[in-house]
Amino acid sequence: MKYLALVLILIFSVPLWAVEPDEVLDDPVLEERAREISKNVRCVVCQNEPIDSSNAGVARDLRILIRERIMAGDTNAEVEAFLVARYGDYVLFKPPFKPSTYALWIGPLALMLLGLGVAGLALRRQSGRPSEGLSADDLAEANALLAQLTSKDDDAHNSEQASDPRDPDI
């Protein structure tokens, strides 16, 4: 029973958020928007943590600021633009798609397509080869060699048969 309670607690426990009760907006819809924005905003002190889960002082200030902007009637994009004007694209975890970030967004896809193209080309070249068959000269030479081999084999069998009583075909 004790274990069951422990397991249930672990299953239903939610992650601990840094957002403090006094920051939370009364309107759940606006609060949800604030949380959504906060998750994509980098804490400028801890850098790899979104401000949504950071306990740094600046992160708290930015969370409150985001809620103020939302209360003032800003759209999500306007709030993000407000932050980018002060901290640059760096403050967003998802950088915008623009000329200076084309390499970032398109690069991996372009490399993959290039790799697939090269692999496809190589595979097609390899599978195309055997179906070309042998030229008439090569075929004649191969047949001559085969004929030579089979005649030698016959000699060997004949000599073996003399000393070995077993059936040579086995």
């Binding site: 400028v44 002190v45 850098q47 002082g57 600046v58 200030d61 930015l62 600021l65 980018v84 004007a85 002060r86 901290y87 640059g88 694209d89 760096y90 290039l114």
Partner: protein
């Protein structure tokens, strides 16, 4: 066409290799945040003075349309590196004869006043940014931070961290000389 394609793998390796060499460069600080404010006008703000000291407050108007460039330093009494850079900054302002403006970041007035009484006050103006809101407008990620503002009020240089190494002070001096319109070294 085929001859060109032969060199394609080499080209790709060279581009990737160049990127890796750049990434391994020991002088590059991967934690450095590029400032969005450099080459822009100082943000709009108006800060009251710190209670208990005579130094006047600081606003955007004090930085725009001046006769000379100025240096803006963000500091706090609770910030240990600020204490370390304080004598360097004091000497720098005296030697260069530049207006040194302070933004006192998230500090209690009595703490800031006591700190300045203890260490000396090299600032011509200090704005008391108790809430840290002006710090956000300046894109401050921590204290101390130092900016160079040209006479028109444009931010020409930002340095995050204490001005304690010769290289940091040299960079600040070069930036100030550039902001004053004189080529560095002349």
């Amino acid at each position: 066409m085929r001859r060109v394609l032969v060199f394609l793998p080499l080209l790709i390796v060279a581009v990737l290799g160049g990127f890796f060499v750049w990434g391994l460069n020991g002088d590059r600080d991967p934690n450095a945040i590029p400032s969005a404010l450099v080459s822009r006008l100082a943000p709009a703000f108006d800060l009251a003075p710190i209670d208990g000291i005579d130094t006047p407050g600081l606003s955007q108007a004090d930085l725009i349309g001046q006769s000379d460039a100025s240096v803006v330093n963000v500091f706090a009494s609770w910030c240990v590196p600020c204490r370390a850079e304080h004598p360097v900054l004091t000497r720098f302002a005296r030697e260069e004869g530049v207006a040194l403006m302070g933004i006192n970041y998230k500090d209690r007035a009595e703490d800031a006043a006591g700190w300045l009484r203890e260490l000396g006050n090299p600032y011509d103006r200090i704005g008391h940014d108790f809430t840290g809101r002006t710090g956000i407008d300046w894109g401050v990620t921590g204290v101390p931070e130092t900016f160079v503002i040209d006479a028109q009020g444009r931010i020409t240089f930002r340095f995050a961290g204490p001005l304690v190494t010769e290289q940091a002070v040299g960079n600040l001096r070069d930036a100030l000389i550039t902001a004053r319109g004189v080529e560095p070294g002349s």
